[in-house]
């Protein structure tokens, strides 16, 4: 099998489960929630069948799941979990504990809308609002990217210059439950990419007297937080290098941002996750009509690739930012405000037009995306440099 590239039909969730199987982490602690459930369900099959030697810890909530992950990680274990929506929100408190204690846990998020009203479908707000928790954060467009980012996330998180947890998201149902072709890797390829076990500088073990998670007040708290920021800055280079190495390993080009037909473009779409696929499909339609348009896909959301995005959008007239997330009373959509910060004060940058869309599984269709593209051009023509609209809802 080693070195043989196979193509298999898998859903996004199945792709994650199979990729985790190749990694064979020491501990998986999880609580089921739609549309993530299949990930841990499949993985528990692997455990039950003896295909992996992971300790699978069933817990009573996501708060406990992440707490168990932190405990396991502190012993030096390689740890994985998965969640979505309300589950991620319930983990929120412990997300900060995981990053503050420098636990390189890997978390798969099946991006799903928040209640209320209760809804199980795709939307990326759940993951985006974890932006300040000091977690490396990636988005994937397809089952293939879900597979790849699963393996990649361990590499980034456990790197000695990073040692921060990492999450990656795929949208509920349209990716998690959709069957696509996935090029798989061999066990040997994964073992060559990530070490068989974590490199551990310090760990909790029964025969040594150590304290983890002690009280730190005015004297040292801020220094510890600053170290997290430095680790997050290191994660840029580590992610870039890891993606480069993964590209060579897999034969699939992987970059922190993906540029599609941007070279000669006057206008651009900016998006992430499954929406990026639709943006590229619309680029093809618009190019056929003679429009000079391209698409930028953000794969790495934290640390935010400000410089790369500035360079990619430099010379573009107007950017249409398709943001599948909800925010209220904000100066712009979530990713739009980050891009605005990244471009502020720089010359030769596009006007930014954010569109909050696709909430709760609503689909912004390709013709609708063409319409918002025209809106952006119109805004740009009349000199508006920053706009934010909600689109694709009943008025």
């Amino acid at each position: 099998m080693s070195g043989v590239r196979q193509v298999v039909g898998m859903t996004g969730d199945e792709a994650v489960a199979h990729a985790v199987k190749l990694v064979n982490p020491d501990v998986v602690a999880a609580y089921p929630i739609t549309p993530q459930t299949i990930i841990v369900e499949r993985y528990s099959d692997f455990v039950n069948n003896g295909e992996v030697d992971t300790s699978f810890i069933s817990v009573e909530s996501e708060h406990s799941a992440m707490s168990a992950c932190v405990g396991a990680s502190l012993t030096g274990a390689r740890v994985f979990t998965a969640t979505a929506s309300a589950g991620l929100a319930l983990m929120y408190e412990i997300l900060y504990v995981a990053s503050g204690m420098r636990c390189p846990i890997v978390l798969a998020v099946a991006n799903r809308a928040f209640s209320a009203p209760i809804n199980i479908h795709g939307e990326c707000t759940d993951q985006l609002v974890c932006r300040d928790a000091s977690w490396v954060s990636l988005f994937g467009e397809s089952a293939q990217e879900a597979y790849d980012e699963t393996i990649l996330s361990f590499k980034i998180a456990e790197h000695p210059d990073v040692m921060l947890p990492a999450m990656f998201g795929i949208e509920g149902f349209i990716v998690t439950h959709a069957l696509e072709r996935v090029e798989t890797l061999s066990k040997q390829q994964v073992e060559d990419f990530i070490p068989a076990s974590r490199i551990v500088r310090d760990r909790f073990c029964p025969d040594e007297n150590k304290t983890f998670g002690s009280l730190v007040l005015q004297d040292y708290y801020m220094e510890i937080k600053r170290q997290q920021e430095e680790a997050m800055q290191n994660a840029f280079k580590v992610t870039k290098d890891a993606m480069q190495e993964f590209s060579e390993l897999s034969g699939r080009k992987m970059e922190i941002i993906e540029k599609y037909q941007l070279e000669d473009a006057d206008y651009a779409f900016v998006s992430y996750g499954a929406t990026a696929g639709n943006a590229k499909a619309v680029v093809n339609r618009l190019r056929a009509k003679g429009e000079k348009v391209g698409a930028l896909k953000i794969r790495l959301f934290r640390p935010f690739p400000s410089l790369d995005i500035f360079q990619a959008l430099s010379g573009i007239k107007a950017a249409t930012i398709l943001d599948r997330s909800a925010t209220f009373g904000s100066p712009g959509s979530i990713v739009q405000t980050d891009i605005a910060s990244a471009l502020y004060g720089k010359e030769d940058v596009p006007s930014l037009h954010g569109y909050i869309n696709g909430l709760g599984g609503r689909v912004l269709t390709l013709p609708e995306i063409e319409e918002v593209y025209e809106m952006s051009k119109e805004y740009n023509n009349i000199g508006m440099t920053s706009t934010t609209d909600w689109v694709g809802y009943r008025k």
């Binding site: 298999v8 467009e141 349209i174 439950h177 069957l179 696509e180 499954a274 696929g277």
Partner: protein, 184 residues
């Protein structure tokens, strides 16, 4: 641009519409084609109308939307004809394949005014006779690939035997082949 075919499968909860779209997509992957196949998730219950989708192309494609304008509609349960607008969104000149054991003229009359290629096969009868149960989901795929040629029958039988081991798989293959021959 990639030549994409969008297929919608209309069935009822428990009839295997989701399995059908999945196996159709797996057969396409086996042939090196590109797919995006998924169910329409909602509050489904056994017997309630459900839909599943398969988007198939010989070339890579980027679309990640739901299917609103299918090229092909497959109706697994004939009782849906009176309950559900099965031709909703169907492209002009598209294809409908229905599990139907009555006269073809009667079926064509049912779709009067719809500009589409209409096919029928007695899927429930075939399933009952060949599989021993009225589970016509894969039977309907046999009819579909005869009229729409999305995948080769060998690919479909291969993924069917892979999914359903032993006698059940073999019976399904017999039923698929019969539907492939009998669709009209």
């Amino acid at each position: 641009m990639a030549e994409i075919t969008d297929v919608r499968i209309n069935g009822r909860g428990g009839q295997g519409a989701v399995t059908a779209s999945r196996l159709l997509a797996e057969a396409a992957i086996l042939e090196g084609q590109y797919v995006h196949a998924f169910p329409n998730f909602g509050p489904e219950r056994a017997g309630a109308p459900v839909t599943s989708y398969a988007r198939i192309s010989p070339e890579p494609f980027y679309e990640k939307t739901e299917v609103y304008e299918p090229h092909i509609v497959v109706v697994i349960d004939p009782t849906l004809l009176d309950d559900v607008p099965v031709v909703e969104g169907l492209r002009d000149g598209g294809t409908i394949v229905v599990n139907y054991d009555g006269e073809k003229d009667t079926l064509v009359k049912h779709f009067e005014g719809v500009h589409a290629n209409i096919y029928k096969v007695a899927g429930s009868i075939i399933a009952t006779e060949e599989i021993g149960r009225n589970v016509p989901n894969l039977v309907m795929l046999g009819a579909l690939i005869k009229v729409a040629k999305l995948v080769e029958i060998e690919s479909l039988t291969k993924v069917t035997l892979n999914r359903f081991k032993g006698v059940l798989g073999e019976k399904n293959v017999v039923a698929i082949k019969r539907a492939f021959e009998e669709v009209e």
